[in-house]
Symmetry: D3
Subunit: 163 residues, 6 copies
Amino acid sequence: MKLTHYDRSGRVRMVDVSAKAHTEREAIAGVLVKMNARTLGAVRRSPKGDPLEIARIAGIAAAKQTADLIPLCHPLLLTHIDVQAKFSKQGVAITSCVRTTGPTGVEMEALTAAAVAALTVYDMCKALDKGIEITGLRLLEKRGGKSGTYRRNPKFEIRNSSP
Amino acid sequence: MKLTHYDRSGRVRMVDVSAKAHTEREAIAGVLVKMNARTLGAVRRSPKGDPLEIARIAGIAAAKQTADLIPLCHPLLLTHIDVQAKFSKQGVAITSCVRTTGPTGVEMEALTAAAVAALTVYDMCKALDKGIEITGLRLLEKRGGKSGTYRRNPKFEIRNSSP
Amino acid sequence: MKLTHYDRSGRVRMVDVSAKAHTEREAIAGVLVKMNARTLGAVRRSPKGDPLEIARIAGIAAAKQTADLIPLCHPLLLTHIDVQAKFSKQGVAITSCVRTTGPTGVEMEALTAAAVAALTVYDMCKALDKGIEITGLRLLEKRGGKSGTYRRNPKFEIRNSSP
Amino acid sequence: MKLTHYDRSGRVRMVDVSAKAHTEREAIAGVLVKMNARTLGAVRRSPKGDPLEIARIAGIAAAKQTADLIPLCHPLLLTHIDVQAKFSKQGVAITSCVRTTGPTGVEMEALTAAAVAALTVYDMCKALDKGIEITGLRLLEKRGGKSGTYRRNPKFEIRNSSP
Amino acid sequence: MKLTHYDRSGRVRMVDVSAKAHTEREAIAGVLVKMNARTLGAVRRSPKGDPLEIARIAGIAAAKQTADLIPLCHPLLLTHIDVQAKFSKQGVAITSCVRTTGPTGVEMEALTAAAVAALTVYDMCKALDKGIEITGLRLLEKRGGKSGTYRRNPKFEIRNSSP
Amino acid sequence: MKLTHYDRSGRVRMVDVSAKAHTEREAIAGVLVKMNARTLGAVRRSPKGDPLEIARIAGIAAAKQTADLIPLCHPLLLTHIDVQAKFSKQGVAITSCVRTTGPTGVEMEALTAAAVAALTVYDMCKALDKGIEITGLRLLEKRGGKSGTYRRNPKFEIRNSSP
C-alpha cells in the first residue's frame, strides 16, 4: 500500500500516466445538502422555477474545471457528465456520474461535480438557513482501469454516514 | 422568510447588490476529510513533504474562483484568504477564513475554499482508500453585513455532525 | 469622434479608466436565435425540462467571464446579472441586463451574456437544424456614466433587424 | 428527429460520446459586425494598428474556452483554429475554422470563435456607434463525423440573412 | 525587514489587505526575449503581419489572470494595462505597465503581463531556434502605496543584467 | 528555415496539427530567481514552512493553463508535470518537466510552469527586495516528435547566461 502522489524523496507529486492504457472509465459520486424542514419546505414550494436545475448545470460545468481546481489532477477529455439532484427527507440529495476514455480515473471529476452542485444549492438557500450542512460527499461506484470495479458497501454506508 | 434567489415569477435569479453598502465582511467555514486509520497513518508518516500544504494552497486558489463555479455568486475583491488543515483522530480537519470589503458576504468563498482543500486531500489519498468521505462542510462564523454576526452553536455542532 | 481604443501611434490599447468616477451603470442587450418551425416545435414540446433555463444560467455565468474573453475589457465587479429567454415566432428571443458600480460601462458584459445564452440554445438544438442563425445581437439600453442614457430607437429596430 | 440533449425524462443532458469514433472533424462559421459608414471609415483609417488582428486573436483564444462557456459542450483537443476578419461594405465580416480529431463535432467552437471575435470588434468601436449589431452568426460548413459534410446553401444565405 | 507572506508559525499565507487604503498604484516591468541573429531576422522580415502585436495582446490578457496564476495574489480591479514590444539588437524587448485603484500594488500583474508576452514571442519563434532565452524579467518602476515610488537604478541595471 | 506560425499571407496563425502523429513527448525547462543575499537568507530561515513548495504547486497548476495564456498554443492532455525548486547561491533555481502523448511538443507548457513558479517565488519575496530578477528562462531538453532529442549545450549555457 503506497501513496502514489509522493516521489522517492517524500515530496508530493503528480502521478505520471504517460504509459497507462486509455480505457473507458466511469465514476459515480454522491452528496447530501442537509437543511432544516422549514428551508426545505420553502425550496420545494418555489412557485415555478426548478432550483435543482441550476445546481445540476453548475455541477456539470464544474466537472470540466476539475484539473484547474485540484493541483495534481490530470486534464482529461470527459465524454459524459451527468448530475441528478432530488429532494430527500433531510434536504437535497445529489448524484454525479462522469465518464472518460483516458489513462486515469474520473473520481475527482465526479466528486467535484457533486461538491459544486451542493454548494450551488447551499447558495440559493443560505438566506433562509445558516445551519445548512454539506455532508457525505463520497465515491459510490468506479469502473474501468487497472483496479477494476468498486462499489461502496451500502451497509457500511448506512452505519457510517448520516445521509 | 423568503428565498432571495427567486424573482417574482419564481425563477431563480442573481440577487441585485447594486444598492448594498460596502462593509467589511468575514466568513469562516469548516469540513472534515474522514479516512480509515491505515490511510491516515500513511499520510502522517509521509517522509518529509507536507501533504496538507498543497491542500491549503488549492483552497486559497479556489476561493478566488468561487464566482466562476457558483452561477449566482457575485464577483468580489477578496482581501484575505486563509486555509488551515490539520490531522485529527478521524482524518484531516480543514478550516477556511475569507474576508472582503464589499456589498455581499463571503460564505460561499469560505465554503468553496474548504471544499476544494478537502477534495485535494482526497485526491492525494484516494489510491489507498476508496471509502474516504468529505463531511460536515458548514459555515462556522460570519461577521459584517446587515444580518450581523453569526456563530454556529458548538453544542448543536456536537450533536448533529460527526466531525 | 474618436476611437478610444487607439493610442497616439495608432496601436490598439486598453482605455485607462484610473481617473473615471465610480457610478451606477446598467446595460441591456438582446439577441434572437432564429430556427425553423419544426425545430422550434420540438424544443417547445420538450416533455418537462426547461431548455431555456440552462441558456439563462450559461449567460449569467458568461457575463462574469467577459474580461477574460474580450482582450481590452476591464475587470468589473458586477452587482447584478439577469438573462431572460422566451420563445418567439421565429425562435428564442434573449434579453440580458447587467449592472455595476464602477468606472466604465457594462455593454460588453450584457452582450457577452446574451451571446453565450444564444450559443447555448444553439448547442441544444443543433442536432435538429444546422441552419439555425444567431442574429440581431445589439445594445438595447444603457444607463449611467458620462454619456448618459441611451435607448435604441424601436422604429430603427424594426426597419433594420429582423428580430 | 430528436433533440439529443434530452434524457428520457425530458431533462436537458450532456450527450454521451464515450462510444463514438475519433475522426477528423472541421467546422466553419461566419458572422457580420454591422456598423454605420462613419464608424467603419474611422476604423479603416486607424493610422497603423490592425484593429482586426486583435479580434482574430480573441476569437482563436475563445475557441479553446468553448467547453467552459457552453455547459453541455464536451472538452475537445482542437488541432487547428483560424479566424479571418475583413472589412466589408456593411462592417467587419468574420469567418472561423476549427478542426479536431475527436468523438464529436466542433460547430460550437467555430461559432464561439466567431462570436467573440465579433464582440471584440464591437468593443473597439462602441465609443463611436452604439447602434452596432452582430448579425448572421451561423454555421457555413461542417465535415467529418456520422452526419457527413454539410454546406450552407448560398442562395438560402442571400435570401434570409443580410450579410 | 520581514517576509510579509508568512504567518507567526512560519507558514506561507496571503497578506491581509482588509485595512489598507485604496490608492492609485502603478507598476512597470520589463523583460528581454534573447534570440540569435538569424531568428531575429526571420521575425523582422515577416511579410506583413505584426508578430509583436499578438504578444502585446497576450500580455494584456494575462495581467487579468494574475490572481488565478499566483496563489497568494489578491484579485484587483485593474484600470489600465499596456504592453509594448519592440525589436532590439538581441531580440524582442517587452515593457508592461499596469494601474489600479486598490489596497495593494500591481507588481505581480506587470511582471505576469511581461512574462506571458515574452512566452508568446518564444512560441512563435521556437521552430527556428531552440536556444531562445527569456531574461531580465524585473520591476522597473512602482508608484503609489505606503512604500512610495521606486525606480530601478539604471546603472545597476547595466552592470547586472544583459538586457 | 521558416516560421511555422505564419500563413502564406504573412499573418500569424496557429499551426495545424491535425495530421501529426500522437507520440510521447517531453520538455524540460529551467529558470533562476536571482535575489540579494539578505533576501535569500530571510527566505532560507523561514521558520518551518517550505516557501518553495507553493512555487512548485503554482508551476504545476500553470502548466495546465498554458493554452489559455499563449494564444496560438494547442490544448494538450498533459500526462505528467513536475516542478523542482531549490536554493542556489544566487537565489532560487527552478526546473520543470512536462510530458504528453500528443501531436505537438510541450516546450511552452514546461516554460510556463517554470515562469509561474518563478513569479510565485518573486511574489513571496518582493516585500524584502524590489530588485529581484527572473532570468535565464530557457528550454533545457526536449524529446519526442519529428525533430527528435534536443539537449542544450551546457558550455553554451555557462558562457551566455548567468544562472
